[in-house]
Amino acid sequence: MQQIHLGAIDYSILIVYFAFVLGIGWVLRRYVKNSEDFFLSGRSIPTWIAGLAFLSANLGAQEVIGMAASGAKYGMMTSHFYWVGAIPAMVFVGIFMMPFYYGSRARSVPEYLRLRFDEKTRGLNAITFAVMTVFSSGISMYALAKLLELVLGWNFHASVVLSGVIVLAYIFLGGLTSAIYNEVLQFFLIVLGFLPLVLLGLKDVGGWSGLKEKLVPVATGAGYAPGAWSSAWRHLGAAGDNPMGVEWFGMAMGLGFVLSFGYWCTDFLVIQRAMAAKSMTAARRTPLIAAIPKMLFPALVILPGMIAIALHSSRGGLLPVGADGTPNYNLAVPALLAHYLPSGLLGLGLTALMASFMSGMAGNVTAFNTVWTYDIYQSYIRPGQTDAHYLRMGHAATVIGIGLSVAAAYATTRFNNIMDMLQLVFAFVNAPLFATFLLGMFWRRSTGHGAFFGLLTGTGAAAIHHGLTLPQGAVPGLKGGFLGTVLHTYPSEMAQNFWTAIVAWSACFAATIVISLVTRRNKSDEELKGLVYSLTPRLRDHDLVWYKRPAALGVVVLGLTLVLNVIFW
């Protein structure tokens, strides 16, 4: 792929964008008076803004680049990450879990765990979460700088420093509010920046039907049925029938239930946006409002990948091909940008890419500084200080968080294996989380010991499952099989990941129940009021118009998602 050359108009667009992002931070600095303003936006964010930020914080560059790469590699099946994964989980968290997160007045997800269970469960979650956010923002910083180096010839160090400094400046000035407002701005920029690319691509390949036709040789060439790249469900009967190497059960349970619910329902990065909403109904509607654009996102992020691979196979040479003969899927979006967009819109497209990176990074940093300040610093290092002290700590934590991300980005350049290993460990830690929250919120008998040791059991089970299995064609090591014997070989890495998650969740679920039953309850019914379903008064929202009621919205969202699944069956 040839390098892209930017003109003056492209740089001007980028500069105008930077000016607005910083300007918003500058204007909002006046409203940060105490730590609650800085970390939780004073719980005053309007619903639509919280909803779009909920979506945008997750929409990092890795989502845009990665989903397009999957679209090229697996085709339409990638939509399961949205229509089976994200959407049902978002509806669930809005309707069933937000009443406890928001109603408990907890300031973070780990703090909810302390209220519901005990100190050690909170500590475990807070520390692993803080480490994870720093590393994941570092890894995405690395990925972006590498990409800019490759396609634009920009200096790696300059990209890292520039993006880090801008994100730092606007969060430092305006705290979470600034991050959230900018996330909404970035959301519109991402949509309006990538949409022309999708429209041009679709027009070029002859619309959806033309694309389907052009994807036939891609599928048959790889040895699958002709429709394997353009249908979501039809080839999920057996793992060998589709490029993902997954069968419907592993897909629905592993991705749909365990991984997606685990992420959308427990990850403070997204939950924080809803916690900042101005009222309980606003908080509950936040993920539901986010779900509506989310269900259309496959058109924006997966379709470009499918178009890229269709063009690559029918006209040849769009994507650079590696030594082993497989195209570099990660370059699907940059290659299309270079292919279709003239100077002008090209600048807008690249600005959108930068925006997606920044929204993801700001999401990580704001979640990190809150968990660090409230759940680690205030709890274990310096309790009982004034609010002004914690606000200062929040500012310092923002600087430290970004500094650590930069350090992680550089560590990635030198020790790629360590990063892969860390990501694997994070996967083990995350997989069982949803079982803990589910039992915590819906079973009052679950205890602190049950939650803590249940989590450890789940993580251990994930590691053991991974250590005893291997994806086809891989050598023992990071990919699995490190425990000496390989009991099972999965058709693909993705199948192995889904099943690792299923095993971790089940082990945590079972262990939490057993340990809870043999340990004494550490919280009385009175203490659990507002934290557990059966002990919390039902929320009444009959005075709202029907389309503002969370339950009604949830049903509409699920219905529309079902329709999409059927259309692209």
Partner: protein
């Protein structure tokens, strides 16, 4: 919150739209070969300009309403 986000957002997209549309008018036709012969800068610039102006319109109307009846919620 006292900042209506639609204001900066409307402003930014209006500026982007105007920049692209003007560039679309002055730029040479040759650069549009890759975009299937369509002057995408001009057309998409107009779309962005429209979007930005609508946002600005909403923001200004909300501001008017607030000035007319103090205490009425906006945003």
């Amino acid at each position: 919150m006292n900042l209506d986000l639609r204001l900066p957002m409307g402003l930014m997209f209006s500026i982007f739209g105007a920049m692209l549309a003007v560039y679309g008018i002055v730029s040479s036709r040759a650069i549009y070969d890759r975009s299937l012969g369509i002057n995408v800068n001009l057309w998409w610039g107009l779309v962005l300009l429209g979007f930005g102006l609508v946002m600005l319109g909403f923001a200004l109307r909300a501001r008017e309403a607030q000035r007319a009846g103090p205490g009425s919620p906006t945003g």
